[in-house]
Symmetry: C3
Subunit: 138 residues, 3 copies
Amino acid sequence: MIDSHTIRVNTRGHCDIINITPQIEGILSKSKIEDGLVNLFVSGSTASISTIEYEPNLVRDVEEALEKIAPEDKKYHHRETWHDDNGFSHVRATLMKPGITIPFRDKKPLLGTWQQVVLLDFDNRSREREITVTIMGD
Amino acid sequence: MIDSHTIRVNTRGHCDIINITPQIEGILSKSKIEDGLVNLFVSGSTASISTIEYEPNLVRDVEEALEKIAPEDKKYHHRETWHDDNGFSHVRATLMKPGITIPFRDKKPLLGTWQQVVLLDFDNRSREREITVTIMGD
Amino acid sequence: MIDSHTIRVNTRGHCDIINITPQIEGILSKSKIEDGLVNLFVSGSTASISTIEYEPNLVRDVEEALEKIAPEDKKYHHRETWHDDNGFSHVRATLMKPGITIPFRDKKPLLGTWQQVVLLDFDNRSREREITVTIMGD
């Protein structure tokens, strides 16, 4: 069995990290599939999905780590192609990849108590993001 | 068809990297599903799963790379929230994500000869980790 | 339903980043499965799969970011084990992981307009890589 949904999220960009756990829990609780895997995938080359203990200080820590890996103000070759200033966004997204697959049982994701699912928007402007939710199982 | 299991692993934390390939091969060999995908997911926000050529020197190399990305002794904002000293653990886990999906055929994972599946525990103390193993296929 | 294929790709190594989107679109368009998930997995411990806006300048930016994370000329402990000089390749592959799972609908992957699927070969020599393509869905 397969069940498919779309989540839309408005972001501010610049490493905006948004908790999407409530939306995923809501979709799973209403699905006819009780046990299986849920895949989350954000279309586009400047965003990612991961998990985190969602509290503001840790969100800042992750932002700072990504700023060290791919700083916003570095001169990226990508600028030479499109005059775009979001080279840092693309590099972060390629390193972190656009999706995640999470097991669920009895219609609930098997996350830890302090583990939330987040969308990370690395772009240099606000965006409306589309996340495809694909549920497979019994 | 879907088949579900749990692996429990005791870790020492501090970037403890543990080979879990034998457990996964054991579960796959006993499953009724012959071909498909196996998803491994560690609950919690301070651990990850990946693959590596599992030999002690390379394990040290990966530890050093992660220490450069998110050093243990950096001052993390996360400390201000809970007085926890495991900011580095959380940052590493969010960057590396908590799971992996691996194809298998004839009940064997399609890993390379020098490629083992590992749990990476980034926390700053010993833990008992729970890995959910979800097998889907024919 | 499950459908399984293999893609073979010749690479130059040294962070060779190759667009494999046409091969994946071709396989999906010929499959009997219309909607579901496609998993791509490269066997071996020195390569990865991700997505990127595939243009040469951005490819260079990603190469430079990975060179910063795990430089080619650093002295890796791995050398002490096998006298291999590809410690950097292994570290990059473990951090980025060997696979990706992408949703598809009506036999088309749900990628963004500027989002291509790429094989990243981190090894220090040319290789023939084998990517397992596993399609699941209805």
